[in-house]
């Protein structure tokens, strides 16, 4: 115990960071730019998360939606859906906020060098994947094709419209999106995200598929990918659970023998394929 004591950490103390920019994305989602004390970089990997805290309102795990290749500040896209996130939506630039992390297993983009990248994002699932999308765009020559499939419930819920417009115009990105329910102005695809997968022409052996979305989406997307004959070992998922402590202790995020806050949220699909409670 005494030798371990040297490595003991104050695991639950946040650092007080500053919100340096707030952008309203949709009726229920905002993007916050966070700057750590002394403008130090967070040193995160795409796909990792932080525990955000506001005293009196608790903590919540939030995925980092910006790439580490872009500046020392980082972005969080937050849907107002709970005690902490509702309060966060009331905060303005200049407000202080507690940060612990980065935590968890992220993507290792170096492992994907030379591969075609297929991003499948459902709803707010675009936020965590955006950190990897931006990474691949910033190192564009390291990767093959970049295909982004994005589905939302309706056009009003589309996140990052500015970025999406850029992606649509860029010739080296194949961006397709769909909505479950169209409105009067909508002229694009209508239907669930899985309808976008069959028409794709892919070099399946060389394609890395990354999937993030609401719990109900995974099963159907995985079936479609199987239909496309994408090998399981080319598939990565990011799973959402209630990661309360972020450090593998509190037990809330455990799926079978794996702690999402430690071994995930990003999982290599073969690791979670057999876990009944995973997808």
């Amino acid at each position: 115990m005494e030798n371990l004591a040297q490595h003991a950490e104050d695991l639950y103390c946040p650092e007080i960071a500053t919100i340096t920019r707030v952008e309203t994305l949709t009726a229920s989602e905002k993007r916050f730019e966070i700057t750590m004390p002394g403008n130090r970089p967070l040193n995160h990997k795409p796909g990792q998360f932080v525990e955000v805290s506001i005293f009196g309102f608790g903590e919540a795990p939030i995925s980092i939606c910006s790439s580490p290749t872009r500046g020392p500040s980082f972005d969080l896209t937050v849907r107002a859906t709970g005690r902490l996130t509702d309060k966060m939506h009331l905060l303005e630039a200049g407000s202080q906020i507690g940060i612990r992390g980065p935590f968890g297993n992220g993507f290792d983009p170096q492992d994907f060098k030379g591969r075609d990248m297929l991003f499948i994002c459902g709803g707010i699932g675009l936020a965590p994947l955006k950190s990897l999308i931006d990474y691949t765009l910033d190192r564009r020559n390291d990767f093959g094709r970049i295909i982004i499939l994005y589905g939302t419930k309706n056009p009003a819920e589309i996140l990052f419209p500015e970025e999406i417009e850029k992606w649509q115009q860029q010739t080296d990105i194949e961006f397709v999106m769909t909505v479950d329910q169209a409105d009067e102005q909508w002229q694009g695809h209508v239907g669930v995200i899985t309808t976008l997968i069959p028409p794709l022409e892919l070099d399946v052996k060389n394609t890395i598929a990354t999937v993030v979305g609401p719990p109900v989406m995974y099963k159907f997307v995985l079936m479609s990918l199987k239909g496309k004959r994408i090998p399981d070992e080319n598939i990565y998922l990011s799973l959402e659970r209630r990661m309360k402590c972020g450090v593998g202790k509190c037990g809330h995020c455990q799926i079978n023998d794996t702690y999402v806050c430690q071994d995930g949220p990003v999982y290599h699909y073969p690791h979670v394929k057999q876990l009944e409670e995973a997808v």
Binding site: G56, F57, G82, R83, D86, K87, L90
Partner: protein, 253 residues
């Protein structure tokens, strides 16, 4: 920021929850620093037109109750139901288990036509309820917790686990083990297990946990020497409107 305007209303109930608030003593003064109480029949005569927070005590049991609760909902920003009668129908709702005529006559005799009555329902059966504070009477620490949360603009935590959790956290000796009846294993916590802590059994005044295994609970009580009839009756005391209890079957002898 101006202080939230808070009002208290009583419907069909013993008004014990409201009296319980007056028992806050020292905390009552701190509370008045946080909010303005604009209507509170138990303690004052003032009446207000609208309220940031309306606390509702009691169940809905007469046509005039229905009219009044709609009216209050229209004037209230946040509406909180307070105590078992308001949240669950509570003890009052036991009358629904009997024919309405019989109940009317038993209570009012020949004057029964002067007092129109409808089956008892919780407040949430008629209007949107933002938060619920359970208990008979409501627990004052929980009341303060919800009020503080509303003042801060946060959702209060409302627990949905069994009284056993709080009992075990306090390391109370199990009253079932002492041969007493207890509904703690399936009843909602939030009361800090105040009854078992003081040697009394849990009567389930805060209602059942969601997803409660009522058949299992009856089996448990039989194992401790109580009849199925007694188990069901006591489960129904506060939760007679809970369908799980009426549908429950004890599949184990």
């Amino acid at each position: 920021m101006s202080k939230p305007r808070v009002a208290f209303f009583d419907f069909t109930s013993c008004e014990g929850c409201q009296l319980n608030k007056l028992n806050l003593e020292n905390d009552l003064l701190s509370l008045l620093e946080l909010v303005d109480i604009v209507e509170f029949r138990e303690a004052m005569d003032d009446k207000a037109e609208n309220y940031d927070v309306a606390f509702i005590e009691g169940s809905i049991s007469t046509p005039s109750c229905v009219k009044r609760i709609y009216d209050i909902r229209r004037r209230a920003g946040v509406l909180v139901s307070l105590g078992s009668c308001a949240v669950l129908g509570g003890v009052n709702a036991m009358k629904n288990l009997h024919p309405a005529d019989w109940v009317q006559e038993a209570v009012y005799g020949d004057d029964k036509y002067l007092f129109p009555s409808i089956p008892v329902q919780p407040v949430s059966a008629y209007v949107k309820v933002d938060y619920e504070i359970r208990g008979c009477p409501m627990s004052t620490p929980e009341f303060l917790h919800v009020l503080k949360s509303i003042v801060l603009g946060r959702k209060p935590e409302i627990f949905d686990h069994a009284v056993c959790v709080e009992c075990k956290l306090h390391e109370n000796e199990c009253v079932l083990d002492k041969g007493m009846f207890c509904l703690g294993p399936v009843s909602r916590a939030g009361c800090e297990a105040i009854c078992p802590e003081n040697g009394q059994y849990c009567t389930g005044c805060r209602g059942l946990i969601s997803n409660a295994n009522v058949g299992g609970a009856i089996h448990m009580l039989k194992r401790h020497g109580f009849s199925e009839q007694e188990a069901k009756k006591k489960l129904q005391m506060y939760s007679s409107l809970n369908k799980l209890i009426n549908e429950a079957e004890c599949r184990h002898a």
